[in-house]
């Protein structure tokens, strides 16, 4: 009898997990294996993949060093900038805002998501382009200011595009922060600034960590913003991959870059998580 219930329970578990597992298997694991295989192959003369076993593709990685550099620097820097802008907003929404208007204000943060990122980034192209802010600046005497196609423009686009993704997890962790803890801190003699660094910030770290991880990971695959605001001068790995797969049809080299990126990201995330947990203390875990 218990064996029968166990079988039944296993079947239910399988039924619940199967769709997601199959999905990941077909669209993540198998493609990744294909990439691994491709990465050690050669480009067929007409483009695409030709079976081989060579490290030649990995040897050519340094030719894309700029893309790696841009991605691995601008993604975390962008995420941190995002954090600096997002935290005060999330704090205001969760702690200071009048509860009656809170829902409206929170939805205002999310509303831009209802429009395509493409459209919004195009808007920035015009704002930063020669007919936008530089044009206004030239009227007051600052000639030839170039904003578009600079790392600054890409960072601006990144912060703008990913801000809601950073605000929401921080907002959630601040919102469920027990107000009595802040009173307890004040009661024990802590000035508002000490209370912030001693209680509020540490207790919102799970949200901060979620936000930074989310934005960084998405940024590592970012393609659109560098393409439009970086103008091919500030390009990410995403841009390099599009070129290799769709333009020059060099699948093996593209695969080698993709595999390397995944490996680098996994290593960085592992190190980052270890540091974050050390900083936050292991007890933080049960608060997440």
């Amino acid at each position: 009898m218990p064996a029968a219930t166990n079988t039944k329970r296993n079947l239910v578990t399988a039924a619940l997990v199967a769709p997601a597992a199959a999905w990941l298997m077909i669209f993540l694991v198998l493609p990744f294996i294909a990439m691994l295989v491709f990465a050690f192959g050669e480009r067929a003369p007409e483009g695409g993949y030709q079976a081989a076993f060579t490290f030649a593709q990995f040897a050519r990685l340094p030719t894309r060093a700029a893309a790696f550099w841009n991605t691995l620097v601008l993604a975390p820097v962008g995420a941190l900038l995002c954090l600096l802008v997002a935290y005060p907003v999330a704090y205001y929404l969760a702690v200071k805002a009048d509860p009656r208007y809170r829902l409206i204000l929170v939805s205002l943060v999310v509303v831009p998501f209802w429009t395509s990122l493409l459209v919004r980034t195009y808007a920035w192209m015009y704002i930063l382009g020669s007919r936008g802010i530089p044009n206004l600046l030239s009227m007051v005497g600052f000639e030839d200011v170039r904003l578009l196609n600079t790392p600054g423009a890409v960072l601006l686009g990144i912060v703008y595009g990913y801000l809601p993704l950073m605000i929401m997890p921080i907002y959630v962790s601040l919102e469920k922060l027990d107000r009595r803890l802040l009173e307890a801190s004040a009661d024990l003699g802590a000035r508002p600034v000490s209370t912030f660094f001693g209680v509020t910030l540490p207790l919102s770290l799970p949200g901060v960590m979620t936000g930074v991880a989310l934005v960084t990971i998405l940024l590592l695959g970012e393609y659109l913003i560098p393409q439009l605001l970086g103008g091919g001068k500030v390009f990410f790995i995403g841009n390099a991959l599009v070129d290799l797969f769709l333009q020059s049809r060099n699948w093996p080299f593209g695969s080698a870059i993709a595999v390397t990126l995944v490996a680098v990201v996994v290593v960085i995330l592992m190190v980052a998580m270890r540091i974050a947990f050390k900083v936050a203390g292991t007890r933080q875990v049960d608060l997440v």
Partner: protein, 362 residues
Amino acid sequence: MTSASTNDIEFRSVVKRYGSVTAVSDINFAVPRGAFMALLGPSGCGKTTCLRMIGGFEQPSEGTVYINGEAMNGVAAYRRPVNMVFQHYALFPHLDVEQNVSYGLRQMLPRIASPEISRRAQEALEMVRLGGFGKRGIHEMSGGQQQRVALARAIVNKPKVLLLDEPLAALDKKLRTAMQIELQTLQRELGITFVLVTHDQEEALSMSDFVCVMNAGRIVQVGPPQEIYDRPASLFVADFVGKTNRITATVDTGGASILFANGARFAAPAATTPSTGAAMVALRPEAISLKRNGAAGTAALSGTVTHRIFLGSSVEYSVDVDGLGDFLVTADRRALGDSDLVEPGDKVGLAFDPNALHVFPA
């Protein structure tokens, strides 16, 4: 310089309004230095608001709160020489027990050296008998232990006044009784003023030197526990503090006698009785003794026992009194032999000293 004062806490004409709602109105009371004072009342009576005004989490709309003789208007919570044990403790979940306790010490200016901080934190933990628990996480502590951590955290800064907001509400009965004794002991050892907020009359009576009974935002009686219990100032106090029987009655013959609704007449108690008119009479259940019908004696009221509740050291009877309805009667078991136990269905007489009657205008 501040004027010397023998009162650690004083409320003068304090009013607190939230929008159009008045939470407390015209509160005046003083807590002498070193006293244990309980603010007692039903939920929503304004007792917690009063405590929060001492702590600095609320500012009075009118009037002034004095701590140690100093007016506290506009003084922020972190500048006040008081500490609070919060309801549900409000311990910092990201810090361990010792870090929680030393939190207040680390806020002090000028800075205290860290060996001194850990020494004092350890001292406070030992006072609440948690000496070896410093490195534990908050979630590894039981409810009773968390209560002690909260206590240690609040006393470590050596406040002038310790505020306790329903500190024992979340504990089970046995632990609560043990903590009541411990809190009293702690208060004597520290020699500082305690202000306790509670809705539990037993807690207020058992621990404090003074009880301040509040209702609907006002103070209805202040006094030592025994006085509150024995001489309630109003029907509300009689009802809220301890159990009581309420009897509809009339005072007549110029205030000399009391006529119960069922026609029974008693001499008015020696204590003040309102002059002629409709009245409500309160009578404690333990002031009544039951007499079996037929037994010798001059029982003034008679009725039928409907329920018997055995409470261990005492027995509670519910008696349907002829013409007056349900009465509660408590009998100490030591005062009656086993043969005296009456059963539901028995006809009984109710005897009491008329001086035990508390008469209030209706």
